[in-house]
């Protein structure tokens, strides 16, 4: 977008943006640099923005103190399944709510949306009871089933519904004339066109699952089964004190893939949300 800002205003604007950037960039910078500092340097005053000494052994210790690779895999495969499952459920539900006329569809959609208003802390105890009854405690099933059929999926259904509502009806009619039934219209016409919305759903679902904290600490008890957010709290010394540099090395390894995914897909993420009318 072209704007007609005067050079002076442009400099002022960019200066302001740089100042506003600090609270967002500084924590990440602090995490990155502290992860390679000896623990005594982390609390040096005045603080060092650039490490005086580099100690990369912290990264090796992450894997020595915890089955970190296994925990990494746990988080990755759970997030992948949750993302895929949510995309399937939300795209089909969103399509049905948007394009198929059935009695009380709007009322049902409202009821589904109401699920978003219930905080997960409220349902965690009954969920624990339920999964305990099913013999799923200390398994990854609760971390997969709750998001795929719970609040994240409801939000994803909302995003997908908003996208499908805006899809021109003539496309579906043309497909009907071309010989397609309802499922093929969804699969061959509507879904490929929903890529931006699906991309947005994929990103925020992945992030939500990757960062899930409350559910893992309730449902998982063995370190082998832990996911990353839960594992990050376990880097402590014999007295329970945090091993900051090792913890921040683990945090760096946890955050980098997410940052990379977001940087690559941010355009699609914003476009996807724009289609839903959620963009500010």
């Amino acid at each position: 977008m072209k704007t007609d800002l005067s050079p002076r205003l442009r400099v002022a604007l960019y200066g302001l943006l740089c100042v506003l950037l600090i609270p967002f960039v500084f924590p990440t910078w602090w995490m990155l640099t502290s992860s390679v500092k000896p623990i005594s340097d982390i609390f040096a005053f005045p603080p060092d923005l650039w490490p005086r000494r580099f100690d990369f052994s912290t990264y090796a210790k992450v894997f020595e103190l915890q089955p970190f690779a296994r925990q990494y895999w746990n988080s990755a495969y759970i997030a992948a399944i949750v993302t895929l499952g949510t995309m399937v459920v939300s795209s089909m539900a969103g399509y049905a709510f948007a394009r198929i006329k059935f009695p009380f569809s709007n009322t049902m959609f409202m009821i589904v949306l109401l699920g978003l208003l219930i905080p997960s802390e409220v349902t965690i105890v009954p969920l624990f009871q339920m999964f305990l009854g099913w013999g799923m405690i200390n398994t990854h099933w609760p971390l997969i089933l709750v998001p795929v059929f719970g609040a994240p999926s409801v939000f994803a259904t909302f995003v997908m519904r908003q996208f499908f509502i805006a899809l021109p009806g003539e496309l579906e009619e043309a497909a009907r004339v071309d010989g397609l039934g309802r499922f093929k219209i969804f699969w061959l016409i509507a879904l490929p066109l929903a890529k931006p919305a699906l991309g947005a759903v994929a990103i925020f679902t992945f992030l939500h699952s990757w960062n899930l904290y409350l559910e893992p600490i309730v449902f998982l008890s063995s370190t082998q089964m832990f996911t990353l957010p839960q594992a990050l709290t376990q880097f402590t010394d014999a007295y329970g004190g945090a091993m900051w540099n090792i913890q921040l090395a683990a945090a760096t390894m946890t955050a980098i893939p997410v940052l990379v995914v977001f940087i690559i897909a941010q355009k699609q993420f914003v476009e996807g949300l724009a289609h839903t009318g959620l963009k500010g």
Partner: protein
């Protein structure tokens, strides 16, 4: 190719009736245009033929099959939509091949049919492009290509030119007409543009408020409109209407008496209709005060006042009259239309 027959077709949305029992016979290979103002039910009727709307009552046949309960895919029709409805994520070639692929045609047959259609419509250089890379006219041609590739029994067009600019509309009008002449497929075409209807149709169906007002060849409708609605709708500029009364001395209107065509017409309240181009400039004519002169090059359009009535005349002559001046005009009595003032039906 197949004839299409509509028998007492009705459409209700809940308690609201939108189509009130329509009967139309479309012959094999005929080009029929459904025309009427917005909301008259022409698109609904077309969509009922396509199978995209259910039929509340009546019988719809394509060929010798009653198709009321058949899905669109089973009716052997192809439709061109107002907004083209090309699949944005597919190339031109894939768009055109799509319906054949889903009907189990072989790859060789698909390639042959797509090439044939692309050849006819000049689409060969565009086959690998996506719809977003095409202009309005190209999109329209691809939409037609997608329709003809399947060799259906009936083509349905739903206001296909309404998104194009005026110049391109004229070009595409000719292309659609040419395509019909070449393929000879029964065609039902919906438009609100009466010029499109006049220039393209073998037969025009004029609709108003869910009813058929008149069915006929374009020039029949133009020359002998059955009622005031058709008379006012067909022709541009529209026919002039002057309210008054038929008397033995002529047509008595406010401030003027107009000559009547020969024939025994009973004295009654009526509407006198005369098309703008059916006025002649003659010294023996009726005095008319010039209000506005619009030279068009090939003709001159004049707004004028006759008695207390404002009318429009179109003359081949280059009229040099100025507003306020008086000219003398005479209606061509063979081309005067008289309508009943109460029912609107044609009298002569």
């Amino acid at each position: 190719m197949a004839p299409v027959s509509l028998r007492s077709i009705k459409k209700n949305y809940g308690n609201v009736a939108t189509i009130h029992g329509v009967d139309i016979d479309i012959a094999d290979g005929e080009f029929v245009v459904l025309v009427g103002p917005s909301g008259c039910g022409k698109s609904t009727l077309l969509r009922m033929i396509a199978g995209l709307e259910t039929i509340t009552e009546g019988e719809l046949s394509i060929g010798d099959r009653v198709v009321n309960e058949l899905e669109p895919k089973d009716r052997d029709i192809a439709m061109v939509f107002q907004n083209y409805a090309l699949y944005p994520h597919m190339t031109v070639a894939t768009n055109m091949a799509f319906s054949l692929e889903h009907r189990g045609a072989s790859k060789a047959e698909i390639a042959e049919r797509v090439n044939w259609a692309a050849d006819i419509l000049g689409l060969k250089p565009l086959l690998d492009r996506y719809p977003r890379q095409l202009s309005g006219g190209q999109l329209q041609r691809v939409a037609m290509g997608r329709a003809i590739v399947r060799n259906p029994q009936v083509f349905l067009f739903d206001e296909p030119l309404s998104n194009l600019d005026a110049k391109l509309r004229v070009v595409m009008r000719g292309e659609i007409k040419g395509l019909h002449q070449r393929l000879g497929v029964t065609t039902v075409y919906v438009t609100h543009d009466q010029i499109e209807a006049m220039t393209m149709a073998d037969k025009i169906v004029v609709m108003n408020a869910g009813r058929v007002e008149q069915i006929g060849a374009p020039l029949d409708l133009y020359d002998r409109p059955a009622n005031l609605f058709v008379a006012g709708f067909i022709g541009s500029p529209a026919m002039n209407f002057i309210g008054g009364r038929i008397t033995p001395e002529g047509f008595a209107a406010a401030g003027i008496t107009l000559p009547l065509p020969a024939g025994n017409l009973p004295a009654s309240n009526a509407v006198y209709g005369i098309r703008p181009e059916h006025f002649a400039l003659t010294d023996a004519g009726i005095p008319a005060t010039v209000l506005l002169v619009e030279p068009m090059g090939s003709e001159t359009q004049v707004s004028m006042q006759i008695g207390e009535h404002q009318v429009i005349g179109i003359f081949r002559e280059r009229l040099r009259a100025r507003p306020g001046e008086t000219i003398h005009v005479l209606p061509d009595l063979d081309l005067v239309h008289l309508f009943d003032a109460d029912t609107g039906q044609r009298l002569n």
